[in-house]
């Protein structure tokens, strides 16, 4: 099976606190902080979008490896907020990252698991021998409607992986589970998504994440205690914490990958930015269970083992996830709506 050759993430520096959003909508911030486990979220700057975020994440992944860009034969970008409706993000990234023009490329969509769908597709091309290395990116600048519960969590960030034959972590197996579940959707041309309220929990998130994790452990003959780390899709802090407990994982196994409480739900990057934070500190032999969830709905599970090459891997050539999380620029709700284009300007 293929392995992770390199990885990199990018988190915009602007942040807004749950208290600040609650203040505007007259809500009790303790309900959000205590109930959903969201304290703050990242906000893209007025000049940032999925292309710029993907480019920064991709550059960080390229910087950390000595593998030549010329060997990258595919680039797939998963997002639900691609800058263009028609004009692939992947095509702009080929030039922005200086990748060869002899390259397979496409944009993917599957709510919050489009990034992991991209990883699986690169794995297929690597394992079949069609390409030597490939890049998979998950990035989003998601929006929640003003006043909607999603406004506390919908945030921005991106993570890029270079997948190839010889890397720093083996992907032992991947498994996907898909059903037709209308928990969350956005119709073409609509600015904000709609969701099924409480319906997003049991039949959507928990059913798919738990099935993905359980089937993976059945197939691999593993138990929760066999893993050093576990990371799940995190629409808020509460859901993945509960899913981990239901599966039998302990806090020590999940805390390093649980980032939504501080940066919000980065959608297509949500689980993989947690995986990126885990890889920032992982050591040879560490085993990781990673499960992404996308509304609609489906899950992508990965069983990963870090190998000895991580010792000589140049992690410090690019900023780690925690390093980026710890450099916030706090903004108020007024600047937040300005940056997110929620103010109607003259001529609009």
């Amino acid at each position: 099976m293929s392995s992770i050759v390199s990885y990199g993430s990018y988190v915009p520096r602007y942040r807004i606190r749950a208290e600040e959003i609650a203040r505007v909508w007259g809500e009790d911030p303790e309900n959000i902080k205590g109930g959903l486990m969201i304290y703050s979220k990242s906000v893209p700057g007025p000049d940032e979008d999925v292309l710029t975020i993907s480019a920064e994440a991709g550059k960080n992944a390229i910087k950390r490896t000595d593998v030549s860009k010329k060997t990258i034969g595919a680039i797939f970008v998963g997002s639900e907020s691609h800058p263009y409706a028609v004009k692939p993000t992947a095509s702009i990234l080929v030039e922005a990252l200086g990748l060869p023009n002899d390259i397979h490329s496409a944009d993917y969509e599957f709510a919050c698991k489009a990034g992991t769908a991209a990883i699986q597709n690169v794995m297929g091309l690597v394992d079949s021998g069609m390409i030597e290395n490939g890049m998979a990116i998950g990035a989003d600048t998601s929006q929640g409607a003003p006043g909607d519960a999603l406004e506390y969590s919908a945030s921005a960030g991106g993570t890029a992986f270079i997948i190839g034959k010889k890397g720093i972590a083996e992907i032992n197996k991947t498994y996907s589970f898909t059903t037709d579940t209308p928990d969350f959707w956005r119709r073409e041309g609509e600015k904000y998504p709609s969701h099924g309220g409480r319906f997003t929990g049991e039949p959507a998130y928990f059913k798919h994440v738990l099935t993905g994790a359980k089937r993976m452990m059945e197939m691999q003959g593993t138990k929760p205690e066999d893993y050093d780390y576990a990371v799940f899709h995190q629409p808020n802090g509460k859901f993945p914490t509960r899913a981990a407990k239901m599966l039998g994982f302990k806090d020590e196994q999940v805390k390093d990958g649980l980032l939504t409480p501080y940066i919000g739900n980065t959608y297509s990057s949500s689980m993989i930015i947690g995986l990126s934070a885990i890889l920032d500190k992982a050591e040879p032999g560490d085993r990781i269970l990673a499960v992404a969830f996308g509304s609609g709905a489906g899950s992508d599970a990965f069983d990963i083992t870090v190998n000895d090459s991580i010792k000589s891997y140049k992690r410090d050539r690019a900023p780690g996830v925690m390093e980026q999380i710890n450099r916030p620029i706090w903004i108020d709700y007024a600047n937040y709506v300005k940056y997110r284009g929620k103010i109607i300007m003259r001529g609009e």
Partner: protein, 133 residues
């Protein structure tokens, strides 16, 4: 008039800071030049593309309070001349900071950002800007 053709021709240097080096005298140029202004005829077919690291320091800067309509969302914003590690001076915006954070000599690195958009339906122009290190 659409700027699409011009922008497309310049995308490589706008996205990745690709300049040209004269193999005759060794000078590096950004934006890229087809001919070396020093060597002129001698530089024909000797201009080689080279990507700048994006690292440098603030050589000079100004804070714009009364910007074009396009940049209203970003006012006040900082326009600086950056002395790159490789030598060429580049004019660009410094983002993700307050004007007070910028000083002559501040270390910066390049980042790819949206530079402008052609209205609601036109092309999105991306290009380099700078952030404090």
């Amino acid at each position: 008039m659409s700027e699409v053709p011009r922008f497309w021709r310049e995308s490589k240097h706008r996205y990745r800071l690709v300049g040209t080096r004269c193999e005759n005298c060794g000078n590096l140029y950004f934006p890229p030049r087809d001919i070396c202004p020093t060597c002129r005829r001698e530089s024909i077919n000797k201009m080689k593309e080279e990507e700048l690291s994006g690292e440098g320091e603030v050589y000079s800067y100004t804070v714009v309070h009364d910007g074009l309509e396009q940049f209203k969302m970003q006012v006040p914003y900082i326009i600086a001349i950056i002395k790159t590690k490789e030598g060429p001076l580049i004019t660009g915006q410094i983002v993700d900071c307050n004007p007070d954070d910028v000083k002559i000599g501040s270390q910066v690195k390049s980042t790819l950002r949206k530079v402008r958009t052609e209205g609601k339906s036109g092309i999105i122009q991306y290009g380099y800007k700078f952030i404090l290190k």
